[in-house]
């Protein structure tokens, strides 16, 4: 029983991170139909930038929380610029190209970013300096840290803010309109380029935030960390119904929990035939099963063929 609660808590933490990253995928996909493969790398760059800022400020005598805050802010700003630049330089010229062309570009950008990161930050694991004094809470046999609490609360706040942005503001309305039908939105005077750029910028900001969370949680960073994280987050987005923001949030949380439970129980379930190093397959197995029965994801609309 204590394992269950423990895994649920860990899953919730991981899921909050997935959800933030998944939002970046889903916003871009919802508006221009592109799987932005480089998004995982944006998250990684966010972690790395935060790391550099924090390490260079560590000896300055500022309070640790302030340093963490500055690191976070710089990372978010850096990723917003990176996301904007990606769209402007790599994707915008290809807006009318065949479907696979921007996808290959995205893959290319992902490779470029990964290797730039490797040249800058090296190929070894980097220890992410812990800026928060860890406190451990115990509830019903399960334990969790204040870092986990902060991650979940911050993610929840940001997602609330984003929901407000999309539902209530002008730019949010323009984004929804563009996602529905870009041609009509254009006719209605929506500046499509601005909307698309915004999707990239917001998505990248969320990604940077998620990257800092991962860094603080695992206290480790690596130039390849964006890859699996991005893949899982994308899976989460598809799970929730890609293009659907609420779906991405729910899909992320769900995936985090499934993964944590799966890793905790796979040994028991298979009589120790499969161990916890199979953790990474849960995301994909669940995805395949869900798509078989709900082809548009858990919360996606059913889109039939139109005559």
């Amino acid at each position: 029983m204590d394992t269950l609660l423990q895994q649920l808590i860990n899953g919730l933490t991981l899921g909050a991170v997935y959800a933030l990253v998944a939002l970046g995928y889903t916003m871009v996909y919802g508006i221009i139909g592109l799987i932005n493969f480089a998004h995982g790398e944006v998250v990684m760059i966010g972690t790395m930038v935060a790391f550099t800022v924090i390490v260079s400020l560590a000896g300055s005598g500022m309070p640790p929380l302030l340093i963490l805050g500055i690191g976070l802010l710089v990372a978010v700003l850096a990723c917003m610029i990176l996301g904007w630049a990606l769209e402007r330089v790599a994707y915008r010229p290809l807006r009318h190209a065949p479907r696979l062309t921007p996808l290959i570009t995205a893959i290319g950008m992902s490779i470029v970013l990964q290797n730039v990161a490797m040249i800058i930050w090296g190929r070894n694991y980097i220890t992410f300096p812990p800026m928060i004094n860890k406190e451990i809470f115990e509830v019903g046999g399960a334990s969790f840290t204040n870092v986990q609490v902060a991650i979940v609360c911050l993610a929840a706040l940001v997602m609330l803010g984003l929901t407000y942005l999309v539902q209530r503001t002008r730019i949010g309305m323009a984004m929804r309109a563009t996602a529905q039908n870009p041609h009509v939105a254009l006719l209605m005077g929506v500046d499509i380029n601005r909307v698309i750029a915004m999707a990239f910028i917001i998505g990248s900001a969320l990604g940077a935030l998620a990257g800092c969370m991962v860094g603080s949680y695992y206290e480790i960073a690596h130039y390849q960390m964006g890859f699996m994280l991005g893949l899982k987050a994308f899976t989460a987005a598809v799970l929730g119904g890609i293009g659907n923001m609420a779906g991405a949030m729910a899909g992320g949380l769900l995936l985090g929990i499934i993964e944590a439970l799966g890793a905790g129980y796979i040994g028991d379930l298979t009589g120790d035939f499969l161990g916890s190093h199979y953790q990474d397959i849960f995301a994909f197995v669940v995805l395949i099963i869900v798509l078989m029965f709900r082809p548009s994801g858990l919360f996606g609309e059913r889109t039939g063929d139109r005559a």
Binding site: A90, I107, I111, F234, Y278, L291, P295
Partner: protein, 358 residues
């Protein structure tokens, strides 16, 4: 009468070019050997990638299905060969049993994966295939305990070479006065396989099935209304691509004598897909060009970057491996930016592109 223009057979139209090409293909392993057997091996990989890329071309180029886990089928073929022809289990079946078996097994996986997912929208298929590729790789990495099936990350060594009677492809021997090294022999085997897959690609394109694929790419609803069972026709493409992947995997295992999960990463799938798209999806010469270029480019960079850095700075400023990948990534981005339909697209793709930008 308005029958489609009567065509002469392909070889009659292009006999001179084909003759030159055949001469060049014959010369490659001997010219390459002058620089050492390593160059012959690179040529072999180029042709193996031609084979793989043309197999994937059926899926992506013809049927228009985005497969991001193609390497999974390659892995299935490779491990099937490795397990059935190595000391790992002490089984040593001949290649003419295992290669078809590997192809059939990969095909079966293709059908199992494709049947439920091919009715989904294209991008979902992409992520499902990607996930499948990862699942296969993770299993290969971890299926060494409690029963040692795949030997985990260490992989399987001492795999039998392809052997016909006493004629082994791994040893040097003299045939009709010509001395052929192991890699040179594999070269000719691979060329034969590549020709096979080229013929299959060409003939399919211009057939009832090929027309159905094109119709589905153009307008799936209209294709259904014409009575095409789109799911089965797509599944056919998917399964064929998988079988070719399986064969390529078997040959790879035999040629290397060693397989490990490392060779079957997502990056490998992406590279093969990039070959197809960068060369010119659906266009056989374009795909061949893409495969050869993307095999040669990293090698050329490997031999180019180190000396240039040494000469310029007197030491290695940047890790050559990551610079190599960086250039690879940039090349993908730049080609897509300036030649969105690929380096050597078919006239059809150029039309589709013109249509899209109208």
């Amino acid at each position: 009468m308005n029958l489609p223009r009567k065509k002469f057979p392909f070889w009659q139209q292009h006999w001179l070019g084909l003759l030159l090409l055949a001469t060049a293909l014959l010369a490659v392993p001997f010219v390459a050997a002058l620089g050492g057997q390593a160059w012959v091996r690179i040529a072999n990989f180029a042709i193996l990638y031609v084979f793989l890329a043309l197999g994937l071309n059926i899926v992506v180029g013809y049927a228009g299905l985005l497969d991001l886990g193609y390497v999974a089928f390659y892995a299935v073929g490779a491990y099937a060969y490795a397990l059935l022809a190595s000391p790992h289990f002490g089984i040593h079946l001949p290649f003419w049993v295992i290669l078809p078996f590997g192809a059939a097994l990969a095909c079966l996986f293709g059908v199992l994966l494709g049947a439920p997912t091919l009715k989904l929208r294209g991008d979902y298929l992409a992520i499902v295939t990607l996930g499948f590729g990862e699942i296969i790789r993770i299993f290969m990495n971890n299926l060494n305990a409690p029963i040692n099936v795949t030997n985990g990350a260490q992989g399987i060594t001492l795999i039998d070479p392809i052997r016909i009677g006493d004629f082994s492809f791994s040893q040097t021997s003299t045939i009709l006065g010509v001395t052929l090294s192991g890699p040179q022999k594999y070269y000719f085997l691979l060329v034969a396989l590549a020709i096979l897959v080229i013929v299959v690609n060409m003939r399919l394109q211009d057939s009832r099935i090929g027309r159905a694929w094109q119709a589905i790419r153009e307008d799936e609803v209209a294709a259904k209304a014409c009575g095409i069972n789109t799911r089965n026709i797509k599944l056919l493409a998917f399964a064929m691509g998988a079988s070719f992947g399986g064969i390529a995997g078997g040959v790879f295992a035999a040629m290397q004598g060693f397989v490990s999960p490392e060779s079957f990463s997502l990056m490998e799938s992406i590279t093969i897909l990039a070959m197809v798209v960068l060369g010119g999806m659906g266009h056989i010469p374009g795909v061949i060009l893409g495969a050869v270029l993307l095999t040669a480019l990293p090698e050329a960079l490997r031999y180019g970057i180190e000396p240039i850095q040494q000469a310029a700075f007197g030491r290695m400023i940047i890790d050559p491996e990551s610079l190599r990948m960086l250039v690879f990534g940039l090349a993908l981005v730049l080609v897509m930016r300036f030649r969105p339909a690929g380096l050597w697209p078919s006239s059809l793709r150029r039309r589709e592109l013109a249509e899209a930008t109208d």
